[in-house]
C-alpha cells in the first residue's frame, strides 16, 4: 500500500502531517499562517487559517491538473469573400461555444485564479471525431446548427473549427488561498469538511466541500472536481438552526452539530444533488448534555458530547443516514475524525494526544480500543532518542487508567470562564465551591483563534482580527439560547480572550487537575499555554493537538503501521530485520548458515557418495475424493476417487500419473493422465463449486478439459498446489519465471506463465502452442506487460499499477512452491453488474411486470440468468462485498437521470432517452467486491493506469533506460523515468500532453510509440529515443474506414491494431523515413487483443475458437508463418482457452534455431549447436539504431 498522510493541527496552529510510512510528524513548512482546522482527502488538504480564509494544498502529482478551454470559430460563405467571418444577422456569434448560444471570443477566457497558468497559446484542433481534418481544422455544414463533415461539399455554406487552450493548476504542494469571488461572502469560516467523492463513480472526480461560518450558516462549494480543485462558488444551504460544526463522509453522509446540541442529518444527497435536499434533526446522545462534535464516514457516525464522551451511532446505512441509536464508547475526546475505510481518529480530552481506533473493520465498525499515536515530530529529531524512550503513551491502549503524564503541559479541562475567574484570585481550593461560571460560546477549536489572535495582539502583528462585532450582532439578531445570553458583547475584554501568562498557567494546571472530577459541563476544552516561549514543547512534552483529519489516510485494521513501533530508534537494526523480508537476505547470519550448510554437505557427503542410502525411494500416492464433470452426455457431476501417484524416473526426474476412478453402469473404470502431459491447471470461476480444469494438448484441441470439483476450497487449493508442483517438477520448471517468459491473464484475474522454448517461434515448423506448459503465479491482475530484460508490470481491475518483484508463488502456493521473500499482499476491486428490466404498459407505465416471455425482471446482461440483489454473490468465496448496490450510469449508450436505458424490446440496442417507440427499459446496478491475496507484486503508487507498454529488446541488449509508457485511467499519456532491469518500478512519471484522453499504447523495438485515443483514432509519437524518452509530437493516423480502434501493439517493426468490432489490422508501408505507414490491412476477425513481440511474432486472444468437443472464447492463438519478408503470417495455431483475457509475448526474444532442409527429416537440433540466424543482424545497437524496415 502506498504511503498516505494523516493531517493534524496543534494548538499553536501549526500544521503537521504524518505519513503512514513514517514514524514522526512533519511540520508543514509552507504554511505561512497559523491554521485552525484541516480537512484532508487523498489528493489535497483544505484548511481554515487564522485569517478565516480557506486555503487549499493540492498534492503535486506526476500528472498535472490541466483544464481544456475550447471555443468555436464560425464562418459563412458568400459569393464575394468565400468563407469569411461575415455572418448573417440571424447566425450565431463569430466566436461561440459548441451550441452557438454563448458568445465567447478568445480573449474572454481568463484564468480563474492566480493559482492557474496558461500552458500555451490557442491552437486549432485538427481531429474531428477520430478523423484527421485538412489543415486549418475546418468542418463544414449546410447551415448552423447542422451535422458537420470534414469534407467541403458543393452545398457547404458554413464552416467552423475548434480552438483549444489548456490551463494548468500551478499551486501544488503549497497553501493557496481559495479565491472568494463573492464580495458578500459570508462571515468568516469556522469549520470545513471535505468528502463526497464516492457519491458518483464518474471519472470527473466530483467532491463536496461543506463549510460553516462563524454565524452558524452552512455553505457548500460548487463544482469541485479533478480538473477544478478549487471549485467555483459558495452556495448557502439553509439550516434550521445555528450550526457549529459539520462533517461530510466519503459517501452521501453529512451530519452537522447545532449550537443547542442537537444534530442535523442531510437527506437527499445523490449523484444529481450533491448538496442534498433537507435536514432531519437527531437528538443528542445524552439528554442532558448536548453534542458538540460529529464525524461521519461512509457507514459510520461518531459524536462527542460536551462532556467529552464519545458516542457511536448504530444502524447507519445508505438507506438510513440517520441511524437508529447511540452507543456510548470508552474514552474522552475533544474531537473525532473518520477517515478512509471508516477508520477513526480522535484527540484525547485529557492529554490532547491523537488516538487511533484499533480494530475497525467492515464488520466491526466501532472498533475495539483507542491507541495513542506517537508524538515524535521532525523538530524533535535532535532529542529523539530521549523522547522515544520516554514515550509513555506509545503502545498503551487508551483506557480509564492510562494517563499520560507530560510535565508542564497537562491540559486542564477547565473552560475559559474558570480561567478568567482564576486570573482574579488564586482560588486553589475554592474551585469546587465556586459558582459554576457561565459558559462562553467557545467551540472545541475556537480557542485556537483565541490563542492565535492573542499572540498576534501581543506581537503587535497586523492580522485580521476576530470580528467580535459579528458575534455580538449575531447575538442580537437571533434569540440565542440561555447559554449564550451571558456572553455579553459589552463586557470589555471577553474572558475567552484573556491573556494567560506562564505563572498563572501553572496555577491553572493545578486547578485543572484538582477540579477534574468537579468539571462536568465544560463546553469547551480550552487549555492554558505558555504562549510566549520560542519552543513551546520541551523535549519530553507531547504536542497538544487541536484537530486531526484522516480523510486522506489510507490505513485499515490490517495495515502494518510503523507508527506503533515504539522501539523506534532503539532497535532500528533489528527492526529492519523483520523475518522473511528481503533485507534480511543480506544479513551475515543468514549468509553464514548457507555457507556452513554447504560446507557441511561437502564435508559429510562428498567423499562418501558411493555409500548406500539408508532409505530407498518408493512410489508416493496421494488420494482423495472429488466430483468430476462427466465427459459424455448427459454431462453431470459424478463422485470419483482421485489419486496422484508420484515416482522417481530412472534418470532421477520426478514423474507422476493422475487417476480418476469412477463407476459407470456399476462397473469400475478409471481415466488417467500423465503429469508430464498436463499443460495447465486452471481454477474455474464458480460461485457454487470449487472447481478446476486440467488440460493436456489433446484436451486443448477438444476444448474440453478434465473438470473436477473439490468439496472445500481449502482442499481444492491443496490439490492445485500439489499438482502444480508435481507438473513443474516433471517439466523441470522451478523458481521465478525467466525474463523470456510469456505471461497471460484469465478473465478471473489469475496469472499464468509459460517458459518459451526456442522452437516456439521456429519457422516453418514451430512448436504447436497447445503444447505450451503454463503454471500459475500468485496475485490478481487484469493486464500484464513485460520485456526480455525482466521488467514486468501489471494493472489490476481497480487500475492499480503493480511491478513484478522477482518472486514466485503466493496465492494458494505456500511453503515450497513459493519464494519466501518478494511476496506481498495484493488487493483488487471490481464491480459485479446486474440489470433491472421493466416493460411499459398503457395503464401503469413502466413496471416490473413483464410479459410471460420476457426475461427476468432482475437479470444478468444476457437476460438469461436471474440475478437479484439478494441472490447475487461475489464471483468466488475469495471476494467480499465492499459496497452496496448502486445504479451505474456509465453504460454505453447513455442513461437517463435515473440510470434507465430504453429500447423497443428485449434484447435490443439501448439508448439513454425515452422515445415513443420504446416499450422496455433497463438499468445496470453495480456492486463492488474486493479480493485480498498475495503474489510477487509491489504496488507502483499513486497514479492508476489503464494500459502500459515496455520497450521490447533482445535479451542480450544493454539498455540504460527501459522506456515504459502508460496511460492513466483518466486517459493521460505518461512516460516512466528511471526504469532499468535493476529498478523495474522506475522513479517518476513524465506527463505527455494530448488533446484528448487515450486508452491504449505500445512502444516498438525502435522506440516507435503508437497509441489509440478514446475516440478510436490512432496516433504515432515522433522522435522518441533513449535521449528523448518522451518524443516531441503526435501524428494523427486515420483509422481503418468506419472502425474505431481499441488496442495497438508494436513489435520490432510490425504494428498491429484491434478495433471495437474485433477486427485485427496490420499497418502497411512502414519505412524508416515514413514510420507512420500508409494503410491498414485486415488480417482477421474475432480478435479481442493482440501482442506483438520483439521478433515481430504475433499472438492474439481470439473469440470463438471451435474445438472438436466445444467452442471456446478467449483463446490464446499464435500467428504462423510470420517471417521477416512476410510479417503478416499465414494462419493461426490455437492454444489454451477459453476464458483468457490477455497475453504478452513481448519478453520472448528467443529466436528459433535455424533448421536446414536437410536436417528436417532428422530431429531438430538443440539451439546451442546451431549457427546463428541468417536474418539481417539483430544486434542491439543495430536494432535500436534502425528505425523501421519492412
Amino acid at each position: 500500500m502506498p504511503s498516505s498522510l494523516l493531517w493534524a493541527v496543534d494548538v499553536f496552529g501549526r500544521v503537521y502531517s504524518l505519513s503512514t510510512a513514517a514514524q514522526q510528524w512533519d511540520q508543514c513548512k509552507e504554511a505561512q499562517l497559523e491554521f485552525k482546522r484541516v480537512t484532508a482527502v487523498q489528493q489535497c488538504c483544505w484548511a481554515i487559517a487564522c485569517d478565516h480564509q480557506i486555503y487549499l494544498n493540492v498534492h503535486a502529482s506526476d500528472v498535472p491538473i490541466r483544464y481544456k478551454e475550447e471555443t468555436y470559430e464560425n464562418q459563412r460563405w458568400n459569393p464575394v469573400d468565400g468563407f469569411s467571418d461575415r455572418l448573417l444577422p440571424s447566425d450565431r456569434w463569430q466566436w461561440s461555444d459548441m451550441t452557438g448560444l454563448k458568445h465567447q471570443p478568445l480573449d474572454s477566457f481568463q484564468l480563474p485564479s492566480e493559482n492557474w497558468e496558461w500552458e500555451a497559446d490557442w491552437y486549432v484542433d485538427e481531429n474531428f471525431g477520430g478523423e484527421p481534418t485538412e489543415k486549418g481544422g475546418w468542418t463544414y455544414a449546410i447551415d448552423f446548427p447542422a451535422a458537420y463533415t470534414k469534407d467541403k461539399k458543393w452545398n457547404s455554406c458554413v464552416r467552423r473549427r475548434r480552438w483549444i487552450r489548456y490551463r494548468r493548476y500551478k499551486a501544488c504542494n503549497t497553501w493557496a488561498k481559495v479565491p472568494s469571488e463573492q464580495a458578500g461572502l459570508p462571515d468568516p469560516f469556522n469549520d470545513i469538511s471535505c468528502g463526497g467523492w464516492e457519491i458518483s463513480d464518474e471519472p470527473r472526480g466530483q467532491m463536496s466541500l461543506w463549510a460553516v461560518s462563524l454565524q452558524g450558516k452552512v455553505w457548500f462549494r460548487e463544482d469541485i472536481h479533478h480538473l477544478n480543485p478549487e471549485g467555483s462558488s459558495w452556495v448557502e444551504v439553509q439550516v434550521p438552526g445555528e450550526v457549529v460544526q459539520i462533517s461530510c463522509g466519503a459517501g452521501d453522509l453529512v451530519w452537522a452539530v447545532l449550537w443547542e446540541g442537537q444534530l442535523l442529518v442531510r437527506e437527499g444527497i445523490g449523484r444529481d444533488c450533491p448538496k442534498g435536499s433537507s435536514w432531519v434533526v437527531v437528538e443528542s446522545p445524552s439528554p442532558e448534555v448536548g453534542a458538540i462534535h460529529v464525524a461521519v464516514g461512509v457507514n459510520v457516525v461518531w459524536a462527542v458530547t460536551k462532556d467529552h464522551k464519545v458516542w457511536f451511532r448504530r444502524g447507519i446505512n445508505s438507506h438510513n443516514p440517520c441511524g437508529s441509536g447511540w452507543i456510548g464508547m470508552v474514552g474522552e475526546m475533544v474531537m473525532i475524525n473518520v477517515g478512509l475505510s471508516d477508520q477513526v481518529w480522535g484527540i484525547g480530552a485529557e492529554d490532547r494526544a491523537i488516538y487511533m481506533r484499533q480494530g475497525v473493520t467492515a464488520n466491526e465498525l466501532s472498533g475495539k480500543a483507542w491507541k495513542a499515536l506517537p508524538s515524535l515530530r521532525d523538530s524533535d529529531r535532535a532529542h529523539s532518542s530521549a523522547s522515544a524512550s520516554s514515550l509513555p503513551s506509545a503502545g498503551c491502549f487508551f483506557s480509564g487508567e492510562v494517563r499520560v503524564q507530560s510535565r508542564g503541559s497537562v491540559i486542564g479541562d477547565i473552560d475559559a470562564g474558570q480561567e478568567a475567574s482564576c486570573e482574579a484570585a488564586p482560588l486553589l481550593h475554592g474551585q469546587a465551591d465556586a459558582p459554576k461560571p457561565l459558559i462562553p460560546k467557545v467551540t472545541s477549536d475556537s480557542f485556537i483563534s483565541e490563542l492565535v489572535s492573542d499572540r498576534d495582539r501581543r506581537e503587535g502583528a497586523v492580522s485580521t482580527p476576530i470580528p467580535e462585532e459579528d458575534q455580538g450582532s449575531e447575538q442580537d439578531d437571533k434569540a440565542p439560547p440561555a447559554l449564550v445570553l451571558s456572553h455579553s458583547p459589552s463586557c470589555g475584554p471577553d474572558p475567552q480572550w484573556s491573556n494567560v501568562d506562564l505563572e498563572e498557567a501553572q496555577t491553572h494546571l493545578a486547578v485543572g487537575a484538582a477540579s477534574d472530577a468537579a468539571e462536568t459541563s465544560s463546553l469547551s476544552s480550552v487549555a492554558t499555554y505558555n504562549l510566549g516561549l520560542e519552543e513551546p514543547y520541551g523535549p519530553d512534552e507531547h504536542p497538544l493537538w487541536a484537530w486531526v483529519s484522516g480523510g486522506g489516510c489510507a490505513v485499515d485494521s490490517h495495515s502494518q503501521l510503523s507508527w506503533f513501533n515504539s522501539s523506534a530508534g532503539m532497535c532500528s537494526s533489528m527492526q529492519s530485520m523483520s523475518l522473511s523480508v528481503s533485507p534480511a537476505q543480506t544479513a551475515a547470519w543468514r549468509k553464514q548458515i548457507f555457507e556452513q550448510l554447504s560446507e557441511r554437505s561437502k564435508r559429510e557427503m562428498d567423499n562418501f557418495r558411493h555409500y548406500e542410502q539408508a532409505i530407498e525411494q518408493t512410489v508416493w500416492v496421494k488420494k482423495g475424493t472429488m466430483q468430476w464433470w462427466r465427459d459424455w452426455k448427459p454431462h453431470k457431476w459424478v463422485d470419483v476417487r482421485f489419486a496422484l501417484e508420484q515416482y522417481c524416473g530412472t534418470d532421477g526426474s520426478k514423474e507422476g500419473i493422475l487417476f480418476i476412478y469412477y463407476t459407470f453402469n456399476e462397473e469400475k473404470k478409471y481415466l488417467h493422465a500423465f503429469i508430464n502431459e498436463v499443460t495447465i491447471l486452471v481454477p474455474v470461476l464458480s460461485d457454487s463449486k470449487h472447481t478446476f480444469a486440467i488440460y493436456t494438448p489433446e484436451r486443448t484441441k477438444q476444448r474440453w478439459p478434465i473438470r473436477l470439483a473439490a468439496s472445500t476450497e481449502h482442499e481444492m487449493f491443496d490439490w492445485l498446489a500439489l499438482l502444480t508442483m508435481s507438473c513443474c517438477d516433471s517439466r523441470g520448471v522451478q523458481g521465478p519465471p525467466s525474463k523470456q517468459a510469456i505471461w497471460s491473464v484469465t478473465c478471473k484475474g489469475d496469472i499464468f506463465v509459460s517458459e518459451p522454448s526456442p522452437s516456439l517461434e521456429a519457422s516453418p515448423y514451430p512448436m504447436s502452442c497447445d503444447q505450451m506448459f503454463w503454471h500459475q503465479i500468485g496475485g490478481h491482475l487484469r493486464t500484464i506487460e513485460c520485456n526480455s530484460l525482466g521488467v514486468v508490470w501489471g494493472i489490476g481491475c481497480d487500475h492499480t499499477a503493480w511491478v513484478y518483484s522477482g518472486g514466485y508463488g503466493g496465492g494458494f502456493f505456500q511453503g515450497l512452491a513459493s519464494s519466501t521473500d518478494n511476496i506481498y499482499t495484493q488487493t483488487d476491486v471490481k464491480s459485479v453488474y446486474i440489470y433491472e428490466n421493466q416493460r411499459w404498459n398503457p395503464v401503469t407505465g413502466y413496471t416490473n411486470r413483464g410479459l410471460p416471455t420476457d426475461r427476468y425482471m432482475w437479470s444478468d446482461a444476457s437476460g438469461l440468468q436471474e440475478c437479484t440483489k439478494a441472490n447475487t454473490k461475489p464471483p468466488s468465496p475469495h471476494w467480499t462485498w465492499v459496497s452496496d448496490w448502486t445504479i451505474d450510469y456509465n453504460v454505453s449508450g447513455g442513461t437517463d437521470r435515473e440510470g434507465w436505458q430504453y429500447a423497443a424490446d428485449f434484447p435490443a440496442s439501448y439508448h439513454g432517452s425515452k422515445t415513443l417507440k420504446d416499450f422496455v427499459r433497463r438499468r445496470r446496478w453495480a456492486r463492488k467486491c474486493k479480493i485480498t491475496t498475495t503474489g510477487p507484486w509491489q504496488e507502483v503508487p499513486p497514479i492508476p493506469l489503464c494500459d502500459v507498454t515496455i520497450l521490447p529488446c533482445m535479451a542480450q541488449s544493454k539498455v540504460e533506460q527501459v522506456l515504459l509508457w502508460a496511460i492513466s485511467n483518466k486517459g493521460d499519456v505518461l512516460c516512466r523515468l528511471g526504469v532499468t532491469p535493476e529498478t523495474p518500478a522506475g522513479t517518476s512519471w513524465l506527463h505527455v500532453g494530448t488533446d484528448q484522453p487515450f486508452k491504449s499504447i505500445s512502444i516498438g523495438g525502435a522506440h516507435q510509440v503508437w497509441a489509440i485515443a478514446r475516440d478510436g483514432s490512432a496516433f504515432y509519437r515522433g522522435s522518441v529515443s533513449q535521449q528523448n524518452p518522451a518524443g516531441d509530437c503526435w501524428y494523427h493516423i486515420p483509422s481503418p474506414p468506419r472502425q474505431k480502434l481499441k488496442q495497438v501493439s508494436v513489435g520490432r517493426t510490425s504494428v498491429y491494431a484491434v478495433d471495437d468490432n474485433g477486427n485485427l489490422w496490420y499497418r502497411h508501408g512502414l519505412t524508416p523515413s515514413y514510420p507512420q505507414g500508409t494503410t491498414w490491412e485486415h488480417i482477421s476477425n474475432n480478435v479481442r487483443k493482440v501482442s506483438v513481440g520483439p521478433l515481430d511474432q504475433v499472438w492474439i486472444i481470439a473469440d470463438k475458437v471451435q474445438g472438436s468437443h466445444s467452442l471456446s472464447c478467449g483463446t490464446v492463438c499464435h500467428r504462423l508463418g510470420v517471417q521477416p519478408m512476410e510479417p503478416k503470417g499465414q494462419s493461426w495455431d490455437y492454444g489454451i482457452g477459453g476464458g483468457w483475457d490477455h497475453i504478452t509475448v513481448r519478453g520472448n526474444s528467443l529466436e528459433a534455431p535455424r533448421i536446414s532442409m536437410a536436417m528436417l527429416s532428422d530431429r531438430p537440433v538443440p539451439a546451442s549447436s546451431t549457427p546463428h540466424s541468417p536474418l539481417p543482424l539483430r544486434n542491439p545497437e543495430g536494432m535500436n539504431g534502425n528505425v523501421v524496415q519492412s
Binding site: M605, F608, A614
Partner: protein, 279 residues
Amino acid sequence: MQQAMADDKDVLRDVWFGRIPTCFTLYQDEITEREAEPFYLLLPRVSYLPLVTDKVRKHFQKVMKPDDVGEMWFEYEGTPLKWHYPIGLLFDLYASNTTLPWSIFVHFKNFPQQDLLHCPSNSVIEAHFMSSIKEADALKHKGAVVNEMQKKDHKQLWMGLQNDKFDQFWAMNRKLMEYPTEEGGFRYIPFRIYQVTSNRPFIQKLFRPVASDGCPHTLGDLLKEVFPAAIPQNDGQKKYQVMIHGIEPMLETPIQWLSEHLSYPDNFLHISIIPAPSD
C-alpha cells in the same frame, strides 16, 4: 532482481538431505559364525536409528545364529546411542569433531536397560515422533494446528519421514510452521539444549521468539537466558560450540527463523552444546 540468491527453502532441503556417512562394526563380544564385515551407510541426519538400520541388521544377521540376535542397539565410544534422539543430534553431540565416517558399534546383546528405551517396532518410533510434534505445536500454537489436522495428515508427516519424502513431509509440515504475521512468530520456541557433560538429559524452557519491545529474539538471547556459559566471554575465548545440524549459527540469528528452518522433523530445535576443541 532475480539474481541467484539462495532461498530459505534451500536451507530446508539441505537440512532434510543431510547425511552422515557411517561405518557400522559388529561389537567384538558378539558371537558370529564367520567374520563380520563392517557395513557402510549414509544415515539421514533427521531420521532415527531404528528407522534406517534395517539393512544393518540384515547385514549382520547373515553371519550370526538367530539365537544370538537380540534387540539391536548402537554404541559410540562407550556411549549407548538413544534411538529416540535424531541421528544428527547424536552425531553432533558425541562425534562432531571426529573423522568420518562415523564409527558405530552394533550390539545384539546386553541391552543397556538403564540408558536406552526398548524399541520393539516402528510404531513406537511413530508414537514418539508424533508426541514430539504435538508437544512442539502446543508450544507454538497451543496445539491448534496439530489438533486441526486429520489422522491422515499426521500419517503424511510420519510417512514423509519414514520414506524420506521431503515434499510429502513439508507439504504438511509447513502448516505447523505458520504463524500470524502480526505476532512476528510462534508463541514459544520449541527447543532442547543438550550437553554431553550434564546429568540432565536436556534443558527446555518457555522462550518467546519476540521480546516485549517487539525485537526478535536471537540465538544469543536464548543462550543468555538458558545457558549463559555458552556465550563467549569478553576475553574472546570460546569454550563451547553451539551446534545445530552440524553447523554453528551466529548468535545474531533470529530464533524464530532458526525454529522455522533448522528444526528437526519433530519440530524441535535440538541444540548441542559441546566443549570447543582445545587446539
